[in-house]
């Protein structure tokens, strides 16, 4: 409503200024039209309308989409962190409790679903541009799951060895770095 009121006021002001100029004629007016000046005027008017109406809106939409994707990627990063913390806790306690077993397995189910969401969102918004990065993350997820829940995992008295923990730490940091790079790349799209 306010927008229409402002538009109405602006039109009224424009008409008033036009009448004033015509009536008093104190501003000298050229009878001939310079084509360059006319083109400049048209381009200026076009930009004045195009930038706020279409370009800004497009940029806002794109920014919003990127923010949503980045939020989802950060959630995925948190889930990987959760697994890393659980494995660290198991190493510190020299035991993998049933609760921690189930928490680790559940975290991997969450990771799969979060990664799938990220892939769907990226494909929806920026088809194919991040294929390599997403394929790499899928491979990392599988390797990480195999490392953490493979071998004798869930066996009674199962413990992570120091070597497994080292490998897990290396793998986790590789994943964390890949996720950070993905966030940067989504931000630059």
């Amino acid at each position: 409503m306010i927008r229409y009121l402002i538009a109405l006021v602006l039109v009224a002001v424009g008409v008033a200024i036009g009448i004033a100029i015509r009536h008093y004629n104190f501003i000298p007016l050229e009878d001939k039209i310079n084509i360059v000046d006319l083109a400049t005027l048209l381009v200026t008017v076009f930009l004045a309308i195009y930038i706020p109406t279409f370009l800004d809106k497009q940029m806002q939409t794109s920014r919003y989409e990127k923010d949503v994707i980045i939020r989802k990627i950060e959630a995925l990063q948190t889930s990987f962190k959760e697994v890393n913390k659980l494995v660290t806790e198991c190493v510190q306690k020299s035991a993998v409790s049933q609760t921690n077993c189930h928490l680790i397995i559940n975290s991997f189910t969450s990771i799969s679903n979060e990664l799938e969401s990220v892939i769907t969102l990226v494909e929806h918004c920026h088809a194919k541009k991040l294929d390599t990065e997403l394929t790499e993350l899928k491979t990392f997820r599988r390797d990480y799951k195999n490392l953490v829940t493979g071998g004798k995992f869930q066996q009674r008295n199962f413990k992570y060895t120091a070597l497994t923990k080292k490998d897990e730490e290396v793998m986790y940091n590789k994943i964390d770095k890949a996720i950070c790079m993905l966030i940067f790349k989504v931000n630059r799209l």
Partner: protein
């Protein structure tokens, strides 16, 4: 083509466990011996597909999946027979089917 259906949550357990029977409850090895392998043989004999529904469990560790599905591929010494005759359903974990197919493919390389 008709299907023989296994729903792990109903036919075996909602809490899949370890790799081997001596290691703990509901191991992949037991699932292979008692459910997966007999039904797979039946499916092959009756020229049907085996349809494995993986949903509604507490989730799967690599050890269970590798032991069960990798074990089936080792039994037949050829991953193609297994992959050609099994279909999977996994709405709970979108990458579980890909994971299982990898275990099956890698089973005879070890």
């Amino acid at each position: 083509m008709d299907k023989i259906i296994i729903k792990i949550a109903d036919d075996y357990t909602k809490i899949p466990g370890v790799r081997e029977e001596i290691e703990g409850d509901f191991p992949g090895e037991e699932f292979l011996e008692k459910i997966l392998s007999p039904r797979f043989k039946q499916a092959i004999a009756e020229k049907k597909k085996l349809y494995v529904d993986l949903d509604d469990t507490a989730g799967y560790a690599t050890s269970f999946l590798e032991s069960a599905f990798g074990g089936l591929a080792r039994e037949y010494k050829d991953h193609k027979i297994v992959l050609d005759n099994i279909e999977f359903k996994s709405d709970d974990d979108p990458f579980l089917i890909d994971d299982i197919k990898e275990y099956v493919k890698d089973a005879n390389n070890k």
